[in-house]
Amino acid sequence: MDNQTFPKKPPAKTNATAVAYAARDFETRSYLPEIFRGVGVSMKHFFDNTREMMRGSRPDPVLDRFDPGITTISYPEQKRPYPERFRGIHRLTTRADASVRCVACLCCSTACPAQCIYIEAGEYPEGDKRRGYERYPVKFVVDELRCIFCGYCVEACPCDAIRMDTGMHAVPYDSRDQHIYDRDLLLSIPGRDGTYETKNPRHEPGDPTHPGISR
């Protein structure tokens, strides 16, 4: 057992090819040509970028993103515009009379996987045309810290009342309670086109187009 030798395994065949060493000639080993070339590259970048900074004509970070040069977005001053269908902070849309469009059906809070929406429904007062037909949210609170921006609430809403088309990302605040967006705040945020209503027409009770309370 002591003198037993194991048969040597032949090396496995590979496709690898040996990488050639850097040429050991004078040009390579004196460093100097490559140093000058390298400094030349640095200088080209320096002069190009300095000129563009001084002339104020550096490439637009989004539109000319493949240009050589400085394509940094200086964040607070410059912002990358979000894509058209970007899901941002929520907003509540309004009716023509600027009241909240939400009917407090609780579809959104039911659909929400993060359970970040809290709604307290209330009845319209006696004599209001909408009483008995729909309710309104006394409280409508979105916890933007819990929200995962999945957009299910927007999908679930039967009235086009909640939207995520503000184009604003979730904002960092100092304390947690600032992330709790209540009804008035959500109503005060316009959409990206600057409007508070939606293009989707709303048929109020009493309108000729209204389908009626007993449909």
């Binding site: 140093i35 970028n49 900074m53 001084m54 539109l63 993103r65 493949f66 400085i70 515009p81 058209e84």
Partner: protein
Amino acid sequence: MTAMQLLSTIVKILIMVGFVLNLAAILTWADRRQSSMIQDRIGPNRAVIKIFGREFRLAGLLHPAADGLKFFTKEDFMPLRADRLLFMLAPIMAMGMVFTLVGTIPFGDTICPRLFHLHFVAHWPLIEGPSAQRWGTCSPDVKNGLYPIELIAAPLGVGILYVFAMSGQGIIAAAIAGWSSDNKFSLLGALRAASQMVSYEVTLGMSLIGAMMIYGTVRLDEMVRWQDNHAWGIFVQPLAFFLFFAAAVAENKRIPFDLPEAESELVSGYFTEYAGMKFGMFYFAEYAEVVTGSMLLVTIFLGGWTLPFFHRDGLTIELGGLRLLQVPVSHVWMTLLGVLAFFGKVIVVCWMQVFVRWTLPRFRYDQLMKLGWRVLLPASLANILVTGVVWLALDKSGPAVSDALKVAGDVTQAIVAVVLAYLIGSLVVGFFAPIKHLRTLLGSSAEESVKRGGTKSEPMQA
């Protein structure tokens, strides 16, 4: 020493030290801003000063000031078992040596107060005035107490030897900083710094011996005068120029020779334990060393305060014995031009050193030592030998050769002038060249951006 000489010495010291201090501070900014331009970034531009409700950012130039303020407000930390005296002494030595070093560097031609007096008294409106003689020395006006003023803070006879003696003290500062901080990283950094600086100090001195042989002096102002009358040192000693440049960068402990403070290995080298303004002094001394190294390079190889074809008496364009143009210029203006030329050249060389720093990767330690002892030192010794042989051969040859050398010297001046003019011209032309952007609209973000009129929603400063 008359009161005027005392006063002029104080002014000279203020000019020189003030220049080194300010340029070192600006270099910390240049290092950051220039690197960002090289690497396609914007770089530091956030330090703001508000004057009358308007914000000034000055292209980020306020960052060095902000850094200085921050250094002073930092905790003055010292390791528990550090050697208190040496720990305190090291940054003082590092900084002090750099500033004593500039004493023998001339920043202008000798001033003749008599001609200044004549210029300001007799020749209103001060555009024209008496020009100095090119070859003659300034005769002192003993009656009025007007002695010639050499624009050297300390006109010592030993000249460059003093500079070497002082720059060698930087090693001691690094070594005792590392030793006294009671930290292994510091000690390793100090050892590296000491061995590296000792190695490259040899090359630094040896590379200049050829130049000293040709110039026939160790006084830096005499060296500049020789270059003024013959040719710039870079044409006479091209190899020594590169050797000296490499050795000077290694002496300054900057990339690619920044092994003593290799961040990836030694935290921060010999000043790991230093905080606040003590660290600031090391940091500042490093940049001041860049400035003084550039000053030496300019003085010995790039003609010091001289400009091509501008001599002490004015503009003289000549080729050998053939005089093409001579315009005498007032001594005052020539002095001013010389001082500006010197400081301008120093700034350009510092600017070049920043490029070297941001282009080359760091050496490995054995590569560094091999480069120092096996490449640079033999090359400098060979340079001495070749210079000596050629110098002897030219010295023994007849007047025809010396005439040819005179023509060659004038040709080098013409080359410098033409290259300088070409570079400045191409800079100006390149600055106003039209810029073409590619405009590749890719993705809905870009489309949205076009709808909103681009990304530049607010103007950016600097």
